[in-house]
Symmetry: C2
């Protein structure tokens, strides 16, 4: 006799496109639940993340009704978790606690249930989590058998749940089967019955097996709609189990816990499911790790493989500075919200501010694996939108918000101070330790960060692409993990620095546009990534650095001075401190993305004159005095005017990344390089200034 | 040019024997520092754990003076950490914070330093620690290169420090070299110079190498005194470096941090040094892991080995229930102390209670690797002594402490309630879920737990012993990790259950003493580890269970009733509920250790009559009515008198474990089995009672 726990996790990130969610509903959530509802003995445990639950309540109450009735008759167990599917270990414990409690309260209201179990987002486990979970009323979570195997256990010992704890705050942990994740719904149901039969015979401890994975596998993943519904896999699967009910019993988590004691005590390492270990490693290590795992599998060296482990989720913050920045901004807003709690409670705004904050903690946009995640501009934009909404609510309490604010703070936890210049309508974050660059530029009323561009980082799978020969895609539903990538992605270019703004490059006069675009140019100076000295006055930020350009001593000063609620001037001063003449170009780099850019609903205008240029066009324009980037979807524009003419280079920053089905080329923003000729005798000085305005066009 | 950071960690567990500490001082701490002091250019970073520092201040002020003078002239950097060397991730964050702050304050007083760095006990890292460390004023810690390699980095990228953070609380982390840990002081100094030369040529990031390890390697580890001092290794090593100072520069951590920026950002996994990964795994996994690592090393498969990882430190709590119990008792006392903080502050007792609590957080006794640790009864006794001291201080505030206390509480975080019976002089902890056994029995005024016996658990290295043929020990200093174990340890017996008390075994009438002693007997019943029903009345705890004995239905009830401040009665009732006759023996098991037992300063007396028996004697005594165990070193005795005569079996519980030099057989307590004949017709009932007294003899 063996118990079978079937657990489905349905999730949509906050801010996903309506049509994407609707399609997922029609092709996966609804048909899946309808079929299961036909077999009341087939017990399931279901987690629906908070954003999706709210969407379903609003848009498809019939789904909620069906789910409620299944819960009423004891077929379905409703699971909780963090409201907006945060990675619990990287959000402030108070926020995590509140997200779990508010989601449990919501589920109580919708379904009348007392939530016992939590879905752990991406099964990202850290050993100190049990304390938080147990205090938030959670009695069990489900992770992967992988977690347990890395703790030294064998598959045969995983036929049930274990108890773990932190500071004596204890919870139960269930191991979800990796084998079943690859089997359901991709292989014929006979394979499932065989596997469970094998387990029934061979389990040494416990008498249960757990399947726990994404509901989107039933209809959304490539090829699965046809296979699961049109070709009847799901119904066949359930009917197949029906015949075996004398030894194979579907139960929910709680039913199992009531019947059976824990197998023992365990302390799981900091890990997630197996694949996350590969994704979170640095690119080259990720590539090498994948090779090692493949090799061990091929050779059947399971005695080694059980001890092989990849990276940890937090390392995405080291791998992607953009994810790190977004995360640290989230922590900053979290501090704002909790500091303002007393004031906000009075104004009944706390709930609203914290809700936006929690939405900004939704995990998807902070990382990248087999799905787009971080690579999707609309998800990152949603994070900034929610952060700025929460921040705007807190700031609405400030009495002095009309006065520009200058503040030094180590915002991103790198032990170097950043500088925030805040006006009524704008946040500017500068990073003196990284080329004195501008890394975030928010237009507060519109809740957008214009510097939300992702650089073209090299991924482990880019290295693999070079190795693999293209193969035709197959028609049959195959596990997403095994899909052979086939897209023609053209030439890949990789960046060595973040694609932010106000970085100064020094290049030879004859350096080519193509070389810059493909990151194959020669950087003559050490300014674009060097550390600047910071000076704050009442009205401006002065960044200065003594560095070298092609061996010459050079001092570069940039004085940033806000001139209005959404305008500022950058005054450059370049001094040749050496004994020789200096003759090269200085390029000031901007990377900008506006809401409409991704759909090409932006245009670029060069000043003076010239017509509208596509925002994703390449190449150079001579003798320009400025640029305007106009969004046709929301009333925002970005304008830079220069004190002197320059040569403009521009190109779209496009990444190539994995998605569910294939490789995708994604527009991440537009790069603009303002090139000034620097021809200075020894001791010579050159000055230029740029006036930047972000706001409604002409506003 | 390469920087060399030489970091020594000197540590003695709270409660270690005076003569052991004195020997370590004379043969390691003192000679090592004296030699280093002769070369003022040879910079070192030194950590001395709090208990040892206090001991040195008291017993060897000349050492403190020498260290101070070396600090004054800039040769030595003094490092901090948790006062009593706790594993920070498993003690309450408030305690951890306070331990770091009070130790920094102590170091400020002794040496006048502002502590910047922390030694992390056993380098047990968890990703959430940076927040605590940074808030406690710590700017850097040193761990192992192993931690970084498991995060996906390569050795060539580890020539400096990285920045890591939790919740934006950031610190610097240095990678200590594993290669140097095996090289210093075990290999000729030329090997060191060669290795550093290689690094100087091959480091891709940074320009430093860190040695950070135990100071006891310089004189205390087997063979090292002769090699390091008498044969002059240490002086030769320093002189060897002196010749290379044009490219090899000794610096302290802080000097290096001032000169060089961080290499980058990193998130380290939950891990410790390489060897800890093997030790913390379950025994069989530990054995298999060691084999895998050895095999990969032999085959030079470093591309695989870099991804191979063992267990995590917390798993010692799953591996050793005794460690878990001690740890959860510590957490309980920590809650007591912090709850009583306000009262205690008034009475100026808080500092004293928390100091004992922190001493009880000293890591050594909670785990086992290449050193004894958990296997050493005097270290475990010291934990209980300090816990009971702290608890006694808190209880001295209670007004109702003369009344017996009965309390249900899940003390050990296994989601089943334990029962505490507390009197003015005694704590009794029962575990209904594990045979209704008595797992802790404290005599409060003497601050001892009489049930502090460690069971004979099977270790991974026991499995290896079977494989390895004995080889003669070598004379030369060899790394402790490579020592071939040679002791003749006799036959090994392993236990399947904790060696605690009031467990009931049912065995055949002809079962032999030897079979019980060697754990090869047949357990007829399911009572010794089954779950009991719990009932609490005003004056007693009633544990009952319906179970089976050799297929017969049996009900066993034990009624525990305190009769005085340090006496209690256990009334047994055995009912044969079945249709057949019952004819076997019931053995009530006690395992007791008194302070004098380990040195054989205890005697055993059988009641009635009979002379003194050695406490570690084996075998059986017939027709006994009770036993008395008398300690000759402290005024305590343990007495059990029975309502009816019984057959007594007793034997010393002796473990066989690794120590620095070899395998050791250690006395952990004495096992007593009180055997009663159970001859019951169907429906028959039998009653027995045991009167237990713990206190001064005759008290």
């Amino acid at each position: 006799m063996i118990y079978f726990i079937f657990c489905i996790h349905n999730h949509q990130p906050a801010g996903n496109f309506e049509h994407v969610i609707e399609r997922a509903y029609q092709r996966s959530y609804l048909p899946c639940l309808r079929i299961i509802s036909k077999y009341p003995w087939f017990k399931v445990s279901i987690h629906t993340s908070g954003f999706l639950l709210d969407w379903l309540c609003m848009n498809h109450p019939e789904y909620i009704e069906l789910l409620s009735s299944m819960k009423e008759r004891g077929q379905v167990e409703i699971m909780g978790g963090g409201y907006y599917e945060p990675i619990l270990s990287v959000i402030p414990p108070g926020d995590g606690y509140d997200q779990i409690k508010t989601f449990s309260a919501r589920l109580k209201k919708v379904f009348g249930v007392d939530v016992k179990g939590a879905w752990l987002a991406e099964r990202v486990w850290e050993p100190h989590l049990p304390y938080l979970l147990s205090k938030a009323g959670i009695r069990y979570v489900v992770v992967d058998d992988y977690h347990f195997i890395k703790a030294g256990l064998k598959r045969e010992e995983l036929g049930g749940y274990y108890v773990t704890e932190d500071m004596a705050g204890a919870i139960r942990v269930f191991p979800g089967s990796e084998r079943l994740r690859y089997l359901i719904p991709f292989e014929p149901r006979e394979r499932f019955i065989e596997h469970l039969r094998w387990l029934e015979q061979n389990l040494e401890k416990g008498n249960a097996v757990v399947y726990a994975d994404d509901g989107e596998k039933f209809g959304i993943w490539p090829g699965t709609y046809r296979w699961v519904y049109q070709e009847g896999w799901l119904e066949g699967f359930i009917k197949g189990i029906e015949k075996e009910r004398h030894w194979l019993r579907p139960v929910t988590f709680c039913e199992y816990m009531e019947r059976e004691p824990p197998i023992g005590r365990i302390y799981l390492p900091t890990t997630s499911y197996m694949e996350m270990g590969e994704w979170s490693l640095p690119s080259s290590a990720s590539f090498e790790y994948a090779g090692v795992v493949e090799g061990l599998e091929r050779e059947g060296r399971d005695e080694i493989r059980r001890f092989v482990q990849g990276g940890i989720w937090r390392n995405f913050f080291a791998k992607y500075p953009e994810a790190n920045w977004m995360h640290k901004r989230m922590l900053m807003v979290s501090r704002y919200v909790s500091e303002a709690m007393d004031d906000l409670k009075e104004y009944r705004l706390y709930a609203s501010a914290s809700r936006y904050l929690y939405m900004a903690q939704c995990n998807d946009a902070y990382w990248h694996g087999v799905f787009g995640g971080l690579y999707l501009p609309h998800l990152r934009a949603e994070i900034y939108r929610n952060l700025l909404r929460a921040e705007n609510i807190v700031e609405s309490m400030r009495s002095d918000r009309k006065r520009p604010l200058f503040k030094r703070v180590d915002m991103d936890g790198d032990l170097s101070d950043e500088v925030l210049i805040g006006t009524e309508r704008m946040n500017l974050f500068f990073k003196p330790s990284e080329g004195g660059s501008l890394v975030e530029m928010d237009l507060k009323p519109l809740e957008i960060n214009l510097l939300n561009t992702l650089a073209r980082w090299q991924e482990g799978y880019h290295l693999k692409l070079k190795e693999t020969e293209s193969q035709p895609a197959t028609e049959k539903a195959v596990s997403i993990h095994n899909i052979v990538r086939t897209a023609k992605v053209g030439e890949l270019c990789f960046d060595t620095h973040r694609r932010v703004s106000l970085m100064e490059h020094f290049i030879r006069n004859d350096e080519s546009f193509d070389a810059f675009y493909t990151s194959r140019y020669t950087e003559l100076g050490d300014f674009f990534n060097g550390t600047y000295h910071t000076e704050l006055t009442d009205s401006s930020l002065i960044l200065s650095r003594k560095g070298t350009v092609d061996g010459l001593q050079v001092r570069l000063t940039k004085d940033i001075h806000p001139t209005g609620a959404s305008t500022f001037v950058v005054s450059y001063r370049i001094e040749n401190l050496s004994e020789r003449d200096m003759d090269c170009r200085m390029g000031v780099e901007f990377n900008i993305i506006l809401p409409g850019c991704n759909g090409r609903d932006c245009v670029l205008r060069a000043i003076p004159g010239g017509g509208d240029l596509p925002v994703d066009s390449h190449g150079e324009v001579e003798d320009v005095k400025g640029i305007v980037l106009v969004d046709r979807t929301v009333p925002v524009s970005f304008t830079v005017e220069s004190s002197a003419p320059f040569l403009l280079w521009r190109f779209p920053v496009e990444t190539v990344s994995f998605s569910e089905s294939d490789l995708e080329r994604i527009y991440q923003g537009s790069c603009f390089l303002f090139l000034f000729t620097v021809s200075l005798e020894r001791g010579g000085v050159m000055e230029r200034s740029l006036t930047v305005a972000i706001d409604r066009e002409g506003g």
